[in-house]
C-alpha cells in the first residue's frame, strides 16, 4: 500500500488543536469579559437634556438626595424631581436665570411638559425592585449607584445583574450602614472587617433577611 498521506500530516491534528486553542481561548475570554452586564451596562452615561451636575449640587452645595429624589424613602420608585424643584433656585430673579444651559428647564416650566431626562438605571420589567425597603433597612444609595456625589454626569456604576443583587442578599452584612449615614456618600467604614462587624450587628438587631428565592424578585 502506498503512502496515501504525506509525512507532515501526522502533525496535523495536533496543529489544529493548538491553533484552535490559541484562537478559541481569546475569543472565549473576550466574551466572558465583554458580554456580561458588568461591561455592557456599567459606564452607561447618556447625554441628558440639561447638563445637570450631581457633583456641583450635592458635593459643592451639600444638598441632600431627598431634596430632589423626594419619595425614595416611602416609595418603590425613586422619583426624578419635578421641574419646580429646579425653578425653586433657577427661576426668574434667582440663580443663573438666563443661563443657556438651563433653557430646557425654563421651557418645561413654561409649557408644563416634563424635561425628557434619559433613564440610566433600568431593570427588566420581570424583576421587582423597591427603593424604600432597601433605603429604610440600612442600604445606602452608594452601594448601588456608586459615588454619585462625584459624578458631574451620572453613569451606571454597578451591573444591576441578578448575581449582583444576590451577592448582597446572601451577605448583606458587607453593605449595611447606620441609619444616619444612608444618604451620606462620604461615609466609609475604616476597613472591611469593621464593615462586617458593624453589618453583622445590624443584621441581627434589625432581623435583616433579604429574599434569595425566585419569588422574592420575580412575581
Amino acid at each position: 500500500m502506498s503512502n496515501f498521506f504525506p509525512k507532515w500530516a501526522n502533525w496535523l491534528p495536533l496543529q489544529l488543536l493548538v491553533c484552535g486553542l490559541v484562537i478559541g481561548a481569546p475569543i472565549t475570554l473576550g466574551i466572558w469579559y465583554y458580554f456580561t452586564p458588568k461591561y455592557t451596562r456599567v459606564g452607561y452615561q447618556p447625554d441628558q437634556p440639561v447638563p445637570f451636575s450631581h457633583s456641583l449640587h450635592v458635593k459643592q452645595l451639600g444638598m441632600d438626595c431627598r431634596y430632589c429624589h423626594s419619595f425614595v424613602e416611602v416609595a418603590g420608585h425613586s422619583n426624578l424631581p419635578a421641574t419646580q424643584t429646579c425653578i425653586n433656585c433657577h427661576g426668574q430673579g434667582r440663580i443663573l436665570p438666563n443661563s443657556p444651559r438651563l433653557a430646557a428647564v425654563r421651557d418645561s416650566w413654561e409649557t408644563g411638559q416634563p424635561i425628557p431626562w434619559v433613564q440610566i438605571h433600568r431593570l427588566p420589567d420581570y424583576a421587582y425592585f423597591n427603593h424604600a425597603v432597601h433605603v429604610n433597612r440600612g442600604v445606602s444609595c452608594y452601594s448601588c449607584h456608586g459615588a454619585v456625589n462625584e459624578m458631574s454626569v451620572v453613569y451606571e456604576a454597578e451591573s444591576l445583574s441578578m448575581k449582583w443583587c444576590l451577592d448582597c442578599h446572601r451577605a448583606p452584612e458587607n453593605f449595611l450602614r447606620p441609619p444616619s449615614e444612608i444618604f451620606n456618600m462620604n461615609w466609609h467604614p475604616a476597613s472591611s472587617s469593621e464593615q462586617r462587624e458593624l453589618g453583622t450587628k445590624f443584621k441581627e438587631e434589625w432581623k435583616i433577611n433579604p429574599p434569595v428565592s425566585c419569588g422574592g424578585c420575580h412575581h
Binding site: 459606564g43 452607561y44 451639600g62 431627598r66 416609595a75 433656585c89 411638559q113 420589567d125
Partner: protein
C-alpha cells in the same frame, strides 16, 4: 508564519482592549452613550407603564398624569374621612409606610381656623417630632434658610436674594398656621413645598422652626438649672448668653 500569526493576535487583542476599555471604571474606564443592547426584549419591556415613564396611550406621551378634578390621587386621604389625618398624625415618629397627603379642609391641612391663621400644632409634639422636623428642615429648607434659620443658606452665596430670616420679629410672632401655609403654598418669591412634604412633616418643620427661633433668642434662664453651671463655669460673670450672630 507562526510568528506573524501570534503577532497579529497580540495586536488585535491590544486593539480591542484599547477601543473597548476595561470594566474597571477607575483605570481605562469604559463609558458609553449607547444604551445596553437587549436581544430578546419581549419580556424585558412589557406593555405596562412604570412610574415616570412615557406612554403612547395619551396624546402628550406622558405616562404620569396630572391631577384630574374630583379624583383622589393614590396616597392622598379621601376628602370626607377626617379621622384619617389625625390617625396619620398620631403615628408620627414611627417609620413612615404610607405617603400622607390630604385634600381636606380642616386646620391640620390648611393651617386655618375659619378664615384666620390658627396657632399650635394639630397634635402633641414630642422629642421625636422635633427630631423629624430637624431632619426634614435640613433636607428641604436649610439650603436657602441656613442651618439655624438665619436666611443665610448656601444658595444665598450663589446669588439667591431675599431669603427670609426666621429670627425677625414678624416671623417669630407669626401664627403657626401661616408658616404652615408658606410651606405648602409658598409666599412671594418662595415656591410651595406642598407636593413633596407630607402633612405631619410640615407641622414637624413648623415645630422645629419654633425651636430654632427660641434657640437664637435664648437667655440663660432658658437653660435648665442643672446645666447652667456647665455653661457659666468658664465665665461666671456672664448672666445672659447673647443671641448667636447671624
Amino acid at each position: 508564519m507562526v510568528r506573524y500569526f501570534l503577532f497579529l493576535l497580540v495586536l488585535i487583542t491590544i486593539l480591542i482592549v484599547s477601543i473597548a476599555g476595561l470594566r474597571d471604571y477607575s483605570f481605562l474606564p469604559h463609558k458609553t452613550k449607547r444604551p445596553p443592547i437587549e436581544i430578546f426584549p419581549d419580556m424585558v419591556r412589557q406593555a405596562k407603564v412604570k412610574a415616570q415613564s412615557p406612554s403612547d396611550f395619551y396624546a402628550d406621551g406622558r405616562g404620569a398624569r396630572s391631577h384630574v378634578d374630583g379624583t383622589v390621587p393614590v396616597g392622598y386621604s379621601a376628602p370626607e374621612s377626617s379621622a384619617q389625618a389625625s390617625e396619620g398624625v398620631a403615628t408620627m415618629g414611627s417609620p413612615y409606610n404610607v405617603v400622607i397627603f390630604s385634600g381636606k379642609q380642616d386646620y391640620a391641612d390648611t393651617g386655618k381656623v375659619g378664615t384666620n391663621w390658627g396657632n399650635g400644632l394639630p397634635f402633641n409634639a414630642t422629642m421625636a417630632t422635633l427630631e423629624r422636623g430637624r431632619e426634614r428642615y435640613q433636607i428641604q429648607c436649610a439650603v436657602c434658610h441656613g442651618a439655624t434659620g438665619g436666611g443665610n443658606g448656601i444658595a444665598t452665596k450663589y446669588g439667591l436674594v431675599g431669603v427670609a430670616s426666621f429670627n425677625q420679629q414678624r416671623i417669630r410672632e407669626m401664627n403657626d398656621g401661616e408658616i404652615y401655609n408658606t410651606i405648602v403654598n409658598g409666599k412671594n418669591s418662595m415656591l410651595g413645598y406642598g407636593s413633596v412634604i407630607q402633612v405631619p412633616d410640615r407641622w414637624a418643620i413648623v415645630a422645629y422652626i419654633r425651636a430654632l427661633q427660641r434657640s437664637q433668642n435664648a437667655t440663660i434662664n432658658d437653660v435648665p438649672a442643672t446645666e447652667r453651671t456647665a455653661l457659666t463655669g468658664t465665665n461666671a460673670s456672664a448672666s445672659t448668653i447673647a443671641p448667636a450672630k447671624q
